[in-house]
Symmetry: C2
Subunit: 460 residues, 2 copies
């Protein structure tokens, strides 16, 4: 059946080859894969399973000719025979029988060297390596531009969600104003379960680890660094600006408490780890932190391990892109889409038409980054205070002196012993002022613990 489909497609192609030269080729496009872990194996599976479909779309077969992996054992049922497995990634990129190198090693080295060598020897590259692109993207994209080669990186942000192409192509005629991303599935899964079950962070994390939804060392995810890496890539695509992870204010979800998630819901908000970027008169605002979003907003409906990127553009207005941001096959689908796109160009031997970033790399600019103290937003505040009269007045007057006005207050039932929570929602305030006020409030003898605050994005 498979052979039949492919044969008939091939026949049709051959029959009209003259009129439709750009669709008829016979030589395969040769793929070399660096790293055959979870996603790499997914790519191998997908290339194999959809070989006929891909050949029909491309007009030529895609052929996996080499896999470099430190420890991979042959899996003949996937076509991973010992003849195509090697150990050294740098040996693979030096070969002259490879058109496209797919880098799924992760981490900085040897991925960086392998990609640069692949480009230098005339190979296009596909990568899912967000950490590398966030840190060394400029170097890599400059090398690609010099050699007029492509770097496909759809899988680096949002997994299978086509946010890279969307920013580079579909929104390219428009100006982006703001990007709000749920770009870390592990965090969104943990927050969803904390919210739905009222459980502590540490408990849900352990369950997520058992289910394979969080890494053994979850730091990169739960501390927000992975989201910050992805935000750097999104900022370059959306605003044509180069940004490094260290320039992104980054706060993870480890300190979040179930009581604040419950209070947020009572106030009509969900708590999400958002990666937020805005452009404001040439300056960039870029931050990753737990954020309260209105429950009625589409982003608040993004549950579990799903990702979503919500974009505000001048002409288009709001748009959102939703799907699985991680996992073997969703990520593999993005890698294979990049392979197909590059293979098409490779076959027609045409020059690279667009920069992989949408903006020619030499027109990318550095931009001032707004310090977190300068941002203006609404805040959720929780104070653990002595259960005695006058406390609210003391807190409110300090806030007032720092020009922070209160939108609403929830005072919890009286405690039999110890401190009671005082919950407030502020109007828009400058973070510098808020921090000064909180430092002052913390020094009050009636306040029994460091104040908790969560930023609110209401008008997205």
């Amino acid at each position: 059946m498979k052979a039949l489909l492919y044969k008939s497609a091939t026949k049709q192609i051959t029959g009209e080859a003259k009129a439709l030269a750009f669709e008829s080729f016979s030589r395969p496009v040769r793929i070399g894969l660096l790293g055959c872990g979870t996603v790499g194996t997914g790519v191998v599976k997908l290339l194999r399973k959809n070989a006929d479909l891909l050949a029909r779309k491309l007009g030529a077969p895609l052929k996996l000719v080499a896999v470099a992996d430190r420890s991979l054992k042959p899996q003949p049922e996937l076509g991973l025979t010992s003849s195509i497995i090697i150990r050294d990634p740098l040996e693979l990129v030096a070969r002259d029988d490879i058109d496209i190198v797919v880098e799924l090693l992760g981490g900085r080295e040897p991925a960086r060297t392998a990609i640069l060598k692949a480009l230098a020897s005339g190979k296009d590259v596909v990568t899912a390596n967000k950490a590398l692109l966030a840190e060394d993207g400029e170097r890599i994209f400059r090398a690609a531009a010099e050699h007029q080669l492509a770097v496909g990186f759809e899988a680096s942000v949002g997994g299978g969600v086509p946010i890279i192409r969307t920013l580079r192509e579909a929104l390219a005629g428009d100006r982006q104003r703001a990007v709000y991303g749920i770009v870390n599935g592990t965090c969104n899964y943990i927050l969803t379960r904390m919210s739905e079950e009222g459980k502590e962070f540490s408990e849900v994390l352990k369950q997520a680890q058992r289910q394979g939804l969080a890494e053994a060392d979850p730091t990169l995810d739960v501390e927000g660094h992975d989201a910050a890496h992805k935000l750097c890539i999104l900022v370059t695509l959306a605003f044509g600006v180069l940004l490094k992870p260290k320039q992104v204010y980054t706060q993870g979800i480890t300190a979040l408490e179930p009581q604040d998630i419950a209070c947020a819901r009572e106030l009509g908000f969900a708590v999400k780890l958002l990666a937020i970027a805005k452009e404001d008169n040439g300056a960039i605002e870029a931050r990753v932190h737990p954020t309260m979003t209105p429950v009625s907003h589409l982003l608040s409906s993004v549950k579990g391990a799903f990702n979503a990127i919500y974009i505000q553009s001048e002409a288009l207005g709001s748009s959102m892109y939703f799907g699985l941001g991680a996992g073997q096959m969703p990520t593999a689908s993005a890698v294979v889409a990049d392979i197909l796109e590059i293979a098409r160009r490779r076959l027609t031997a045409t020059r690279l038409v667009a920069s992989p970033l949408g903006y020619p790399v030499q027109t990318l600019r550095a931009a001032p980054v707004k310090p977190i103290e300068e941002i203006v937003c609404q805040y959720y505040l929780r104070f653990m205070a002595a259960d005695q009269p006058g406390v609210l007045g003391k807190i409110a007057s300090i806030l007032g002196r720092h020009r922070i006005s209160i939108a609403s207050v929830i005072q919890r039932e009286r405690a039999t012993v110890g401190a009671v929570p005082v919950i407030m929602r502020t109007h828009e305030a400058r973070e510098k002022n808020l921090r000064m006020a909180l430092r002052e409030i913390q020094r009050l003898s009636v306040v029994k613990a460091p104040p908790v605050f969560i930023r609110i994005e209401e008008n997205l």
Copy 2:
């Protein structure tokens, strides 16, 4: 300021021109516009407003050289001077100083002839004309393939939502299983207001017309034909299958009653006009009709004039694309994205890399279309019945004989006079059986009006 930005970008480009030849051009890419109504004016505005951004991305300016419109008056503030305005679209497409023709005439003729003549004379085409593409797409895409030219049609489905690119490129390595689209903003707006305010269809339609959210003659929208046109385009992209609007089962929203929308909500569902396509062993299921979707599903959260396309794919799983599906600037943003993409290729004089449909046009196939009687889904049913004992039994036993089992029943409060509604939700059933059962039930003397049924998509 504008000039400065552009100059500095140009300077940078020139400075590195040797190493980065593919990004440095000077001749403008010349645009001819057919039809300058709402969307056309939006395109003119966007090309003008974002001229520097577009030139930075492209490495060359985009230049509007001619506009053909029956009645357009000069608007010098938009650059629409009398020297570039002509009346005859066929005169425009015959000119030799135009690279890309943007067709925004709408309707079948003269749009069809103009597009074919533009392609025959070596011009690429951008169009938002879904009715034309649904009816004559094959002819147009064949002509484009013969001449190795592009047809950009991102604006034809979902307005500014990049669903065309997404299906053609981002999901190209994967197999699509099903597409569920809210692709008509007018209908979604009307249904949202009927649901939120409990108002009648005709009342909300009138208000929508007053607000410019519905046409004076709303037939194409509210009867579902516009959605069916768009579904034909989506089916070709998702499944590589040619489909004509007359093959799509199409039912609009004009007969929907507020009481059914209210009952749906009570059962945990929203009512949406969905365009649904599935592939099942080579056969295509394609239908447009009011559909009940679980309130917790992301599609149910798509309110007002927004569009969303929800796609199930084998490797990626679920993904959704959300944004404004109509309106001047959202639609213009999609048109300008297509112009930019085509201009990039045009400038590098490279051959067309991919078919505009993702599949080479000669590999597109016709496929059997499943008749609506053969679909299997759950149903919402409402019977207006005499308020007397035994009615439910009679209805249920007829349904049972036709192998339709009941999942739940709501019986409304007793009426003082006349008929009372009996609401049922069925398990999955074949539509042929349901229709036979309903005909039989309608003949019961205790049933006072034709039964109402709405299809439920629960597992999307």
